[in-house]
């Protein structure tokens, strides 16, 4: 399957018109950041890479499915998405990529500073989640209430990299050994 589907959405604004910027490695000041959806050969392990990243407001985040045997979604934790708890900033618009086949992609531009948590619909029960920090958030911006954990499987809560680790390094890579971000077991 070599078809490429491109979706572009602006969280906190209108539709982004182009989305044609070249792929860039993750960097805090990059105009675009790529997050890969990956899986191993047997399908026993699936993950977002990087699992955690800090970006500047206005950065376009592009998810690309590089798993040849599976489809994935990038879906914001928000009541609009199957009643999930809100784990994105108040003023940010939620997104759902729908299912992406291998080599398909989806983009969203994040304008509102804060912490954004998202998941893969068919793999939430396997702990396939990710976290994006937009801007230099203060603690008050990402300390969710207990309600924010409702309905989220424990394996997913355990997989989130900590905001502290993301702010410290800018990028947190997936750790196949633990199924989480390096050093990350922060459920907030």
């Amino acid at each position: 399957m070599n078809t490429t589907r491109r979706h572009v959405l602006r969280a906190g604004g209108g539709l982004l018109l182009a989305g044609l910027a070249p792929a860039l490695v993750t960097a805090r000041a990059a105009a675009e950041v790529r997050i890969e959806m990956k899986g191993n050969e047997s399908g026993s392990l699936v993950w977002f890479e990087p699992i955690g990243v800090q970006v500047s407001p206005g950065t376009t985040v592009r998810w690309l499915n590089l798993d040849p045997i599976n489809s994935h979604t990038a879906t914001a934790y928000h009541p609009d998405n199957d009643g999930k708890p809100r784990r994105i900033p108040d003023k940010a618009r939620p997104w759902h990529s729908d299912y992406l086949l291998p080599n398909e992609e989806f983009s969203v531009t994040l304008d509102v500073p804060g912490v954004y948590d998202y998941f893969c619909v068919p793999h939430e029960l396997a702990g396939m989640v990710g976290r994006i920090v937009v801007g230099n958030v203060q603690d008050a911006d990402w300390q969710y209430s207990d309600i924010a954990n409702d309905g989220i499987p424990e394996v997913a809560l355990m997989a989130f990299p900590s905001v502290t680790d993301i702010l410290a390094s800018g990028t947190v890579h997936f750790d196949p050994a633990s199924g989480a971000g390096h050093g990350g077991h922060d459920t907030k």
Partner: protein, 135 residues
Amino acid sequence: MKMLSMAAALAVAMALPAAAQDVSTAPPGGDYQKVSELVKLPDFIPGLGDLYVNPDTLPAGPFLAYDRDGQLVSTIYMVPIADLEEGKTFDDLAVPGGQVDHVDIYYNAGHPGVEKPHAHVVLWHVDDEARVAAE
């Protein structure tokens, strides 16, 4: 005596199951549907092949897997781990694919159609798994 023979033959015939559906080539027909038309998955999944399933049998299946030439290579059962832990059993699963060469069992994190993490129980009808490998 002749009547008795006919009755015996009829009884034997009725005791046999109905003629098995030939699923050796794709599409298998009957109630089987192409998985990639039921859920969003690739048409051909490297390592498994081209999958068909009767949706009424989800999640366990059997799923029938075919190589790129449309020849049956395996029958797959997908058994959610959580269901087993809760004591659910999967009994009397159909075995439509005939002779089995060998069996593989491994964990799968899930996919559209069977989202719960589950075990793949793969009954290979061929000895060469490379027939469904990535190109």
